[in-house]
Symmetry: C2
Subunit: 145 residues, 2 copies
Amino acid sequence: MNNSISQELNFFLLLAKTQSMLTRRFDNNLGGLGFNEFMILFYLSQSKEEKMRRIDLAGKLGLTASGITRLLIPMEKIGWVKREPYTEDARVSFVSLAKGGKNKLADESMEDAENLAKDLLPPATKTKDLETFSLLLSTMSGTIG
Amino acid sequence: MNNSISQELNFFLLLAKTQSMLTRRFDNNLGGLGFNEFMILFYLSQSKEEKMRRIDLAGKLGLTASGITRLLIPMEKIGWVKREPYTEDARVSFVSLAKGGKNKLADESMEDAENLAKDLLPPATKTKDLETFSLLLSTMSGTIG
DNA sequence: GCATTATACTTGATTAATCAAGTATATATC
DNA sequence: GATATATACTTGATTAATCAAGTATAATGC
């Protein structure tokens, strides 16, 4: 039996496990919003004119274009986001933050997310380490393309 | 517009994005094994007598018991794992590594996973940092319960 | 300008995984 | 030792997300 495993692979196994648990935790504690839905509303709220191309949203969440299409369907129905055609390039359609989504985010979910984030990190976590780790994550997600 | 977001929450958003991309990458490059399937075969191969309780497997992957039940159904059918009843506690059933699964892992997937892991990490990643992050991740997943 | 290639998005079919509820067994409490 | 609670697992219903293929439009190369 060969029991050896590299530190690198071990890191990815741990990452997968942790992220599964984290996603479930976020999904259940954002006042009725799923984590992905929260991220969509949040990124829209941060963007210029509160609207983004669907493909850019996909990039932000690390999902496929298809995944975004499907995520947005119920959100549009409920009135959290709106579809905005784009005349300069007919392939593109923008998603914009609708009133309902803006309220949903502001009233509760944003605060819930912030509180959860602070609760989840071990109290001893060093700011400096968090920075290093964040940088590693951006580099990886930038590289994976 | 309130554009502020804590470093902590930002970290979790980045983590989610990166993990989505990573999972897709692993899923498509382990010689026909999904990432979760790979992890199951791997953890079984590492465990005593190459068998584990389903609930412990769930813990290792960060999934629910239900998720594990469903993951194992096709794997059992294909002959990668076997179900083993446990007389000392009739609630429990063990999963063991079957011949097919053992071969699948040894012939290709283990090597693929190791190579991928090394490819995905930025070359400049410091061993020391990787250790720190791994520790942070274990602490978090241990705490989340 | 025409043909090729690339981009943005949607859709059908499928797979993955959750939750809530249910079954069966074991453990603890009184 | 009967009752209540906890644990391990499965199942039905549902939601999430993929891939592969298709549509439509735009950009590139010659």
